[in-house]
Amino acid sequence: MKSSREEQIQKEFEILHKAIVEGNSELLVAEYWKFVYYRVKKLCVKYKVTCEKEDVEELRNEIFLRMLDNDCEKLKKYDPQKGLLLIQWICVIISNTFIDIILRKKDPESLSSKDKKTQFDESPHITDYYEARRHWLTNMSVTNKLAFKEALSSIPAIYAKVISGYMDGKSFENIAEELGKSKIAVQTYKHRAFKKLKSILNS
């Protein structure tokens, strides 16, 4: 009989193969959905970040999106020869995403400029990042607004609808209801929309 570590490795390769080769992330989600949630919470406790349940969920979704984006680019980077299990590699992705979004407080203008690293705020709140970005979007200069509007018109219609709803201050639930999609789908569209807008505005 195999040892439990061998069984774990085998399970992890099954998950990876299904996600990367078969394009099906069900096993990945089934295995790590709660795992990622509770690791985000752990980091919030460690770094004294105030977070509501919805905020942690949103960050968890962001982490999964990052794992799955670009044909599972981050998952493909997992190297079993480097001494870590897949679950540990996912921990690295979780902590990096957390730090990127929360503690470094990415400049919301990073939509069109290089990311800046800032000092930590005291008692940072997860929503600060998302609110800061929303605030920037709704208070852009005229020139930026024109460029932004043009970029918005060149992305898929559903992405543009999500961004418009987001800028109007609507919650993901509201936008999801209006579009007849799930909340996670709306977050996915938002995530992909920002990526597309970033590449259009940067070019």
Partner: protein, 220 residues
């Protein structure tokens, strides 16, 4: 070449202690002056070396499927696309050729299935079934044990027709002696007649033990 701020791969290599001495020294030098990277390492180590790392709940596949679809609401899977993965990952995938993933258990003290979903074989009595997974494709390699008279049991095996060209070989052993060995195909194939005792079978380099006793079939 000095390393600028650390990528996730660098962090993983550093934590997994798989760096060369030279690279490790470069990273340590960098960490002396970069607070952000020290933070990145600290946060990663907090999670990676958590004693409760492997203590977590999963969610069921129905919910996982619903969530996964939401992450790619407009997904069109291109099964013929070329997959660009690292050599090490490819090598790792290739090494896991098959896996035995499911026993259908029998009722205690009987060689009868607990689940009635499967149809019994000819004599409408007894069988067990194992689902195997070959090369990460779900292939139902079916193994049946049929109870005959005089406490004998006949073993049958088959694979789906579409997998006929996979050339899976099933080898049945008892006391480290090969009892039977057959290439499987879609037609149900008789493997051998068994009596009470301990057996093992090997399928694509994966093996499992089982025992037939008067009280029933026990999978190990």
């Amino acid at each position: 070449m000095p390393i600028t701020c650390l990528s996730e791969e660098h962090i993983a290599e550093y934590i997994g202690k798989s760096l060369s001495a030279k690279k490790e020294n470069q990273i340590l030098e960098h960490l002396k002056s970069c607070e952000d990277c020290r933070l990145a390492i600290e946060a990663s180590e907090l999670l990676v070396f958590d004693p409760e790392l492997e203590n977590y709940d999963t969610i069921d596949m129905t919910e996982a499927s619903r969530i996964a679809k939401s992450f790619d609401p407009d997904l069109i899977i291109n099964k013929n696309k070329e997959i660009d993965i690292s050599h090490n990952l490819k090598k790792a995938f290739d090494s896991f050729k098959s896996k035995l993933i499911q026993w259908v258990e029998t009722i205690d003290y009987s060689i009868m299935p607990k689940e009635l979903a499967l149809q019994p074989t000819r004599n409408s009595s007894s069988f067990f079934c194992i689902r195997t997974q070959q090369q990460f494709n779900q292939i139902m390699t079916q193994l049946y044990l049929q109870k005959e008279r005089n406490d004998k049991f006949t073993m049958f095996a088959s694979i789906p027709m579409i997998e006929d060209n996979k050339k899976s070989r099933l080898t049945l052993m008892r006391n480290d002696q090969v009892v039977a060995s057959h290439l499987l195909h879609s037609e149900e194939q008789r493997i051998g007649t068994l009596s009470y005792g301990k057996y093992s079978f090997e399928l694509d380099k994966q093996s499992r033990d089982f025992e037939i006793t008067e009280k029933g079939l026990y999978a190990q």
